[in-house]
């Protein structure tokens, strides 16, 4: 196990002091002189034509400064899948047609929020309601209402993944199981709702403060939809109060506040209410899953076939990626000799479904791991054993898709097995369930069609040794700021206190694609490491000149000490060398650049994290209520960079994933979300969270900085499956319809009794 000076040590998060003293300024807090407040009028219909909008009365209300509608836009349809024009299907501010309840139709700017809200009631919109369709399996039928002209039978995108000969495989299988599942939606519930302050000034430049996971994407999308030059738009996001996948697409707050500001030449702030957040921002993709799996009687996996229909909602959004990834991760983390997946994303008149932590993998893992336990049970094989038998291993190639380099899955299985054995005999009504996962460590896909390196970093070292580190990555709470500072400090040979971080501002920062797809540690980290290495090289050159050692010696910097590696006592203080180096460069600070773009690293990701989670749950036989008792996770994220950060991320992921498993849901009635508030939408609180144990399995990932991989999104994958399996082992009931509620358990119990009677 390598010992490092900075990484893998428990340091304070570099934003910590600002956050614990209430000084961190979020876009939510931004207040500018002469700032106006905006509100958005949203469609009450799931599907309708907009016939006419009359804004006169609203404009006449005292305190109202401007009203905008689709007529005030360039009528462009945008989307993140810029490479595929037909998938750029969302106007944001609808011009002639609305396709989900909550779709923006107009926006108002006024002297205060209450006046803006009052003005909304005065906007007269004449709709012609159209027939609507809400379920993908209904929307795909002949004769169903068509949402988009180009999408026959409302099929938005399809995906196909295949290797080996699945039909041959089934012939060879000793045992075949078929199961159907329904995976629910889920909401991100960021504590900071979507918001933006847009300020358009007379020099025709636009500045937007917003809560985002990618200021670069927002800059590009906003400039595109507004018809502006990309770099005449500046996006600032120093602190983001949660993202989880909800904040890297252009949203209504950003777009509408920009439109209003462009009309008024004054700053306009729009903050979404919690209700708007639930109703009209994007959410996890609900999926209808069919899995057919063939195995040998000793549990060896032979063939798997998956067919999935996803509820797309009204627009493509990021749903196409979720469709692919669910199919891709359905085969993780095991060796499948043959595999076939067909996925269909279907437009429906509901709020668009998009990216949420896990991005299709939690759904895949729930279905896969539930079925594996059922197969193991049918064949009388131990759940750990069947997984161990088929586990991925270092060097395995997923045919045509990916190369697994580092993989600590087997060790994770061993650790979890050890814990399970230590539990001995469980009290009545309790069960332990496990689930294994593998996840990407930096999504490679460039559907955004960026011309830039995926991630860049710039370093400047000043006369006092302070290092300015410019990065494009976005910290939304996952701790990337601290991770980057640590990687920089470790590589450069200084301490984190020597780093001054610059991020969250398109005007000052190099491009990074943003905090999604678990890419920051690996991609931004590699870029930072490269820049730091180049800066270090410049310092070392000066030190070598000064020390004049025998040519066989080489130098390094550790803990601010520039020294001969073989003779560490011979060296110079980093601070002294920097002073001389700058003088030696005609007074120029030391500057270096780094960048990272994955070339020839497969279709999905350069590296994969792995893990196994065990959940111990108790089921009340009288009511069906589930109580989480214990949760143990062994995970492999390569080299841990920020240990306090990793533990926090894993626990947070578990809480969110457990919610997906048994408490969170977005029930709808004719396209209307029925629980758009935090009373009726149930997230886990401190009292529901069990004690958790996190076991690190250390591996070394050659693709990652210092061998590091992601930790934080992968862990959202296993909990629903592990929980479901715990319920299975406690009660004998397998619930294949998320969330696993007490009522479903009791229904299943009744069904079981009924079958027994027969």
């Amino acid at each position: 196990m390598k010992k490092y000076t900075v990484i893998n040590t428990p340091i304070h998060n570099i934003d910590g002091i600002a956050k614990v003293t209430g000084r961190a300024e979020y876009a939510f807090d931004i207040k500018l002189p002469h700032m106006l407040y905006g509100k958005i009028l949203r469609s009450p219909y799931p599907h309708a034509k907009i016939l006419k909008i009359n804004t006169k009365k609203a404009e006449g209300l005292t305190g109202v400064k401007a009203v905008v509608t689709g007529k005030d836009t360039l009528g462009k349809k945008q989307g993140i899948w810029r490479r595929f024009k037909e998938l750029c299907d969302e106007e944001i501010l609808a011009r002639s047609r609305v396709r989900y309840i909550g779709e923006p139709v107009a926006a108002v700017a006024a002297v205060d929020e209450d006046t803006a809200e009052e003005a909304l009631d005065l906007i007269e919109v004449k709709y012609e309601p159209l027939q609507a369709v809400f379920e993908p399996l209904e929307a795909i039928k002949e004769g169903a209402p068509q949402l988009h002209e180009h999408a026959e039978r409302n099929i938005n995108v399809t995906r196909h993944i295949e290797w080996g000969d699945v039909d041959e495989g089934f012939k060879k299988a000793d045992y075949i199981r078929e199961d159907w599942f329904r995976c629910s939606s889920q909401h991100h519930v960021c504590m900071e709702t979507h918001n933006a302050v847009a300020s358009f000034t007379h020099d025709k430049k636009l500045t937007v403060w917003t809560s985002t996971q990618s200021h670069y994407y927002i800059q590009v999308l906003l400039s595109w939809i507004l018809g502006m030059r990309e770099n005449d738009v500046r996006v600032i996001s120093r602190y983001t109060g949660g993202g989880f996948g909800s904040k890297f697409e252009l949203d209504s707050a950003q777009f509408c506040s920009s439109l209003l500001s462009m009309k008024l030449f004054k700053p306009v702030k729009i903050t979404l209410t919690r209700e708007e957040e639930f109703m009209a921002t994007k959410r996890r993709t609900p999926m209808f899953y069919y899995l057919r799996t063939g195995v040998k009687k000793d549990g060896t996996f032979i063939a798997k076939e998956g067919r999935v229909f996803t509820e797309g909602g009204a627009y493509t959004s990021m749903g196409a990626t979720a469709l692919y990834l669910t199919g891709f991760f359905q085969a993780f983390p095991y060796v499948w000799p043959s595999y076939r997946y067909d996925g269909y994303r279907v437009y429906t008149n509901t709020a668009p479904t998009s990216a949420m932590r896990g991005f299709g993998a939690p759904q895949a893992t729930f279905c896969a791991e539930t079925q594996i336990d059922l197969i193991a049970n049918d064949l009388g094989i131990d759940p750990i054993e069947i997984r161990r038998k088929n586990a991925m291993y270092p060097g395995y190639e997923v045919p045509g898709q990916a190369t697994i380099q580092s993989c600590g899955l087997s060790q994770c299985l061993d650790k979890v097995e050890k814990w399970i054995k230590s539990r001995k005999k469980l009290p009545p009504n309790r069960g332990i369930g496990i689930a294994a996962y593998g996840f990407m460590s930096g999504g490679i896909f460039n559907w955004f069609d960026t011309p830039y390196a995926f991630s860049s970093a710039v370093i400047q070292i000043n006369i006092d040794g302070k290092v300015d580190l410019y990065i494009g990555s976005q910290d939304m709470g996952q701790g990337s700021n601290t991770t980057m500072a640590m990687i920089c400090a470790e590589e450069l040979g200084v301490q984190v206190e020597d780093i001054r971080l610059h991020m969250g501002d398109t005007e000052n920062c190099p491009v990074d694609l943003g905090a999604w797809g678990s890419r920051e540690t690996l991609m931004q980290g590699n870029a930072v490491k490269m820049a730091a290495a180049k800066a270090k090289q410049q310092i070392i050159e000066y030190a070598a000149a000064k020390l004049s050692p025998n040519i066989v010696y080489d130098l390094d910097i550790k803990d601010r000490w520039v020294h001969l590696i073989a003779r560490p006592e011979r060296g110079l203080s980093y601070y002294d060398v920097v002073k001389e180096a700058i003088r030696g460069k005609d007074g120029l600070p030391i500057i270096a650049r780094g960048h990272y773009t994955p070339h020839r690293k497969g279709m999905i990701s350069p590296a994969y994290s792995f893990g196994v989670q065990a959940v111990e749950a108790e089921v009340d036989p009288d009511t069906g209520k589930i109580t989480l008792k214990n949760c143990v996770t062994a995970h492999d994220c390569g080299q841990v960079i920020n240990p306090i950060g990793v533990e926090g991320q894993l626990e947070g992921a578990m809480a969110m994933a457990a919610g997906y498993g048994f408490t969170e849901d977005l029930p709808m009635d004719e396209g209307k979300i029925l629980n758009p508030n935090l009373v009726d939408y149930k997230v886990l609180r401190a009292t529901e969270m069990p004690e958790t144990k996190v076991i690190e399995v250390e591996t070394y990932e050659p693709e990652g900085p210092f061998g590091a991989k992601e930790a934080g999104e992968g862990l959202t994958n296993p909990t629903a499956g592990a929980l479901g399996n715990a319920v299975f082992h406690a009660t004998g009931l397998s619930i294949k319809n998320l969330p696993i509620t007490p009522e479903k358990i009791l229904e299943a119990l009744k069904e079981k009794k009924r079958k027994k009677k027969k």
Binding site: K625, D680, T687, P742, E743
Partner: protein, 293 residues
């Protein structure tokens, strides 16, 4: 958004009753406001006049007299009830109920009077106080009246309080010997309002072998907290056994009138009423047996 209103801070009950009469129907009382402000923010309630009674000291008290019982002022907070040693001694089920009610923060500012006047059928205090045989005292400028809490609730979010009338006090009689009162609600997240809830109070005879009195109160199972009187009748004069318990549970389930919503179907709510009733009746029975005298 909250609509503008004229704000009056009352210092005494008399001042409040005067203001209530002055503002007639166009007013609302705010005390803790933990329920009211949410309604006002959503525009569901928009009074022209708001009368703030939070600082009326004469409405905030917990008084116990051994021969009379307990009197709680309407402006007493949930936290004050939760922390009261006198309530812990004599009516400990109230402590259990308060500990599981909403959040710390809500309990620190919200009041018992506000909760009862809000009349949410899923509220916790209603069923528990009814099980304890509570009465409530109200007054307007002309008169004062005291009625059993059971008669206080009329419908969803509706009570017998008339225009100009203020809820003053909750009164609990002395607990008879060999009596236990218990309460449980079913929820997914701890301290959330119950999907259903059941309060049960059982008084045994001197020998402790048969039931002299019983009150089974169902919460979130109808438009108001209701007593499962038919189920109660089954237990009067009887000794509890498994067979009887089953019958009581089933009867209570039939007496419930639950709705279906996103949290549960009607069927599941009835099922929970049965399960919780059985649990609470058994628990109250066991506890009553250990009570002194």
């Amino acid at each position: 958004m909250i609509r503008d209103f004229v704000y009056s801070k009352a210092k005494t009950v008399k001042e409040t009753l005067d203001l209530l009469k002055e503002f007639k129907e166009n007013n609302k009382i705010i005390c803790g406001g933990q329920s009211l402000l949410i309604l006002m923010r959503q525009g569901l309630v928009a009074p022209a006049n708001l009368i703030d009674i939070k600082s009326i000291e004469e409405l905030s008290y917990i008084n116990f007299k051994p021969k009379i019982g307990l009197k709680i002022g309407a402006a007493t907070t949930h936290s004050e009830i939760e922390k009261s040693s006198i309530i812990k001694k004599h009516y400990s089920v109230l402590i259990d109920m308060e500990k599981n009610l909403a959040s710390n923060q809500t309990r620190n500012w919200g009041t018992i009077g506000g909760n009862l006047a809000h009349a949410d059928p899923a509220g916790d205090p209603g069923p528990v106080f009814i099980a304890l045989n509570a009465a409530v005292k109200m007054a307007n400028k002309e008169r004062e009246r005291t009625i059993p809490l059971e008669e206080f609730f009329i419908d969803y979010f509706e009570t017998v309080l008339e225009d100009g009338e203020l809820l003053l006090e909750v009164q609990l009689p002395v607990v008879p010997p060999k009596t236990a009162t218990v309460y449980e609600k079913f929820n997914i997240i701890k301290n959330d309002q119950g999907i259903v809830s059941v309060a049960a109070s059982i008084t045994l005879d001197e020998k402790g072998s048969s039931c002299r009195d019983v009150r089974i109160v169902l919460g979130a199972a109808a438009s108001i907290p209701i007593r499962a009187k038919k189920a109660e009748k089954l237990l009067i004069g009887q000794k509890l056994n498994n067979g009887l318990l089953e019958k009581i549970g089933k009867k209570a389930s039939k007496e419930a009138d639950p709705v279906a919503d996103i949290h549960a179907t009607e069927e599941y709510r009835r099922y929970l009423v049965e399960a919780l009733t059985k649990r609470m009746v058994r628990k109250a029975w066991e506890q009553a047996k250990t009570q002194a005298r």
